[in-house]
């Protein structure tokens, strides 16, 4: 394991830091991470208020060729700072996005009307929330309502779907699509009752709330794992929290076990296509799309599995973009103090996307889609939506005797 002492100050992390690029108040990952770490003492009160300007995109850690855990050092410094100082109201609010989502979807039409009204947005501004982006819309028919199990009970592949808050409360349609797709490829799929992964709480400096969420999920997931299930995630930030933060930051005893049994949904689909269902036919999709890689998919280090599936889809032209952070970084960009940073980064990413003149934007992350949909004006899609659309077209050619995907 390498630590801050292995940093050779090469500045590769700085070259990759989106916040440093647009906000001079943030000294960059090298100084905020390994450099400052030399002066941080457990018993001493933190004074580095700028440490909270880091958005935890983790690009620094991916870039570091020496394996220094740059963003983890910064995260721990953020948690220490927040523990010792008063957190702003917005931080408390966003640490609890799960509860907001739960309430929001219960009262969906009212919530959506209220959050989009001019008066509410004024109040939000006063409370330290950014008001440039529209708030995500909640759906009453959330993923924890409706069918929670699908696929043959005796199927050899059993998966438990950790969908996270965004698919759960805001885009349950995508979640159901993934459930049906996996079942169609021969899996037994379970959508268990689950809470927030804990990342918003970590990002907003509340270790205790994060632990509370994580422990609940961990108990539930381990029960499934012990019964031969694999955990599958679609949201790359939830995924990174499960495989990295559960064992390393939150130090859960079950963390290792969960990390070893957790898969990205496209990693699993690619495997199913290679091994279980090689005769599946993809229909033509006439699209030229930009595929924006979320920072946390990069940080997972598993490559870009959805891109491997896109290669199989005839007619689909994809340009991969993985050099820019969208700037929203979950709840980061929804806070007033980060609004400018998020706006600038959103504009930079949108510029790079628009030069390619795509007809749609694909991204694995709901927050990236929200932000970049806003700044590019393009239709935004989850990779699974593209895959499902292609398979539905392929399935309609059933007369050729190929396997059918529901």
């Amino acid at each position: 394991m390498t630590t801050f002492e292995h940093c050779v100050r090469c500045t590769l992390c700085v070259e990759n830091c989106p916040v440093f690029k647009v906000n001079p108040a943030f000294p960059g990952p090298k100084q905020a991470g390994p450099d400052a770490q030399r002066f941080r003492l457990d018993g001493e009160r933190s004074v580095d208020d700028w440490v909270r300007l880091c958005s935890q995109c983790q690009r620094c850690q991916v870039a570091c060729p020496y394996g220094v855990n740059v963003s983890e050092i910064i995260l721990k410094a953020q948690l220490k700072y927040s523990h010792e100082h008063m957190s702003p109201f917005a931080a408390h609010l966003f640490a609890n996005t799960y509860h907001l989502g739960k309430l929001g979807s219960l009262a969906a039409p009212i919530t959506n009307a209220v959050t989009s009204s001019a008066a509410t947005r004024k109040i939000m501004g006063v409370l330290g929330l950014a008001t440039n982006l529209p708030m995500p819309k909640y759906r009453f028919f959330s993923l924890n309502r409706g069918r929670r199990r699908k696929g043959r009970r005796r199927a050899s592949r059993k998966v438990v779907f950790f969908h996270g808050c965004y698919l759960g409360f805001n885009r349950p349609d995508i979640g159901r699509g993934i459930r049906d797709l996996l079942a169609g490829l021969g899996c037994r799929v379970v959508i268990p009752g689950q809470t927030c992964c804990g990342l918003p709480a970590l990002g907003n400096g509340d270790l205790e709330i994060a632990k509370r969420f994580a422990r609940k999920n961990a108990r539930m997931l381990v029960e499934y794992i012990d019964r031969g299930y694999r955990v599958v995630y679609a949201c790359t930030s939830c995924g990174l929290t499960l495989v990295h933060d559960y064992p390393e930051v939150l130090e859960l005893p079950e963390g290792r076990k969960i990390a070893e049994n957790t898969y990205n949904v496209h990693e699993l689909i690619l495997d199913l296509l290679e091994n279980d269902a090689p005769d599946v036919e993809f229909g033509e999709v006439d699209r030229t799309a930009a595929y924006h890689i979320p920072c946390h998919l990069k940080a997972l280090g598993i490559g870009y599995p959805a891109a491997g599936i896109f290669e199989k889809i005839p007619g689909l032209k994809i340009a991969i973009l993985d050099d820019n952070c969208c700037g929203l970084a979950g709840s980061y960009g929804f806070k007033k103090k980060n609004q400018q940073t998020a706006e600038k980064l959103g504009t930079i990413s949108a510029f790079a996307i628009k030069t390619l003149e795509p007809d749609a934007l694909i991204s694995d992350c709901g927050a990236c889609r929200m932000q970049l949909g806003h700044y590019t004006g393009l239709p935004v899609l989850d990779p699974s939506e593209v895959i499902i659309a292609s398979l539905e077209k392929g399935a309609s050619k059933e007369s050729r005797g190929k396997r059918r995907i529901p």
Partner: protein
């Protein structure tokens, strides 16, 4: 989970690894590239030094000892590889120019001149005839760029300073991507009424493509404009890396980034797979052939212990020049510490000598006897051996 099998797996994301994977992909092989982080190329000037120790790169290479890796590629191979690089950069939208027969001069931030072979178009006008006047533009608070250094060394030069609102090279470069910022800068620049022949700026003219900003500036002031590479973090180095990465992704090469290779599966004389230290659960990457391009000491391809040098992925035999006491000169700044010659020896097909592995090829600065610091040939050697090793690998595959 069983892994997908690639035709070729390249280990190392620097210039040599990237050029190797592009060569393999262009011959139709399904290629993956794994890298444990961003390459040192991001910190470089972005120029391709082929052999900067003399004015004529190919002439200098001819005079090298026969065990230098360049001699395995041959003159034609080197020129072909550099042409392939130029083609790739055109495709990437970051055109380079230069001639392998002749080095050109670029200006450095301390006012010295440096030999190099291929340069991005933004540095094309840096090679000035003696006696030409130039005006340097610097930016308020910018680190490690002192225009008075430049002007003290060049009597025919002057400078002015612009306030970009941010002091860092990356920050300023990001601002130049924005058309309104560029227009404001141009208005200011016109106001200076520069009488000189050329205008020089630190390399901050945009993060992706400096060409359009340069052309706009050049047209507005009616002068030739060029960039001066800066100390790291280096914008032209980052542009080079990202442009190459874009082409790799366009050509369907799969990238596995940010995780190192922790173990290797070997069956007799064949490498079957490597395992990456992916977060949570290791990832196995399977291939029919492997290319090793992990670089030298600074990139972690080689590791020096007290008395020995180790190759870090396959534990290949490493040629080391003598004992530790012979590795370094007493004068640090003198050219040529003999430790630079340490590395992996390869046969004519770029297979590591003495390793008894049939499907492994090595390229770049991990090769023994390359002495890239003494000869100043880092990126040129990376391009030439990257392409050559990949061609040999392609032959082995088919």
């Amino acid at each position: 989970m069983s892994a997908y099998e690639y035709d070729a797996v390249v280990i190392g994301g620097g210039v040599s690894g990237i050029m190797a994977s592009l060569t393999l992909a262009s011959e139709g092989f399904k290629t993956a590239l794994v890298s444990r982080g961003d390459p040192v190329c991001c910190l470089s000037t972005g120029c391709i030094d082929v052999f900067s120790h003399s004015d004529k790169p190919l002439g200098g290479i001819r005079a090298l000892l026969p065990d230098h890796p360049y001699s395995l590629v041959g003159e034609k191979g080197i020129v072909d590889a550099l042409c392939f690089f130029l083609e790739i950069m055109n495709e990437a939208g970051l055109p380079y120019e230069g001639d392998p027969g002749r080095n050109r001069k670029i200006l450095t931030p301390i006012g010295s001149v440096k030999n190099t072979c291929l340069v991005p178009q933004s540095m094309a006008h840096a090679d000035m005839p003696p006696g030409e006047y130039f005006h340097v533009i610097s930016f308020q608070g910018i680190k490690d760029f002192f225009p008075s250094y430049l002007t003290s060394r060049h009597r025919n030069s002057t400078y002015s300073v612009y306030d970009a609102g941010v002091p860092t090279t990356l920050g300023i470069a990001a601002r130049f991507d924005d058309a309104t910022f560029l227009d404001a800068f141009i208005t200011w620049l016109r106001g200076l009424e520069i009488p000189h022949d050329r205008v020089a700026l630190p390399a901050v003219l945009g993060t992706i493509d400096p060409a359009s900003a340069m052309e706009k500036i050049s047209r507005a002031v009616g002068r030739k404009v060029f960039e001066i590479p800066t100390l790291p973090p280096s914008v032209p180095g980052l542009r080079l890396f990202r442009a190459l990465k874009r082409v790799m992704q366009n050509r369907g090469i799969h990238l596995y980034w940010g995780k190192e290779v922790t173990s290797v599966e070997r069956q007799g004389h064949t490498i079957e797979a490597v395992t990456l230290a992916t977060t949570g659960r290791a990832k196995r990457v399977q291939g029919r052939a492997f290319v090793l391009a992990t670089g030298s000491f600074v990139s972690g391809g080689l590791f020096a212990g007290r008395d020995s040098v180790r190759e870090t992925v396959f534990d290949l035999p490493v040629a080391v020049p003598g004992e530790r006491k012979d590795w370094f000169n007493t004068d640090f700044f003198s050219a040529g510490h003999s430790i630079e010659r340490a590395g992996v020896r390869v046969d004519r097909s770029f297979r590591p000598a003495g390793a008894k592995i049939d499907n492994l090829f090595a390229c770049g600065s991990i090769l023994a006897e390359c002495e890239i610091m003494s000869f100043q040939c880092g990126h040129g050697l990376a391009v030439a051996t990257g392409v050559a090793a990949a061609k040999s690998c392609a032959q082995g595959l088919s």
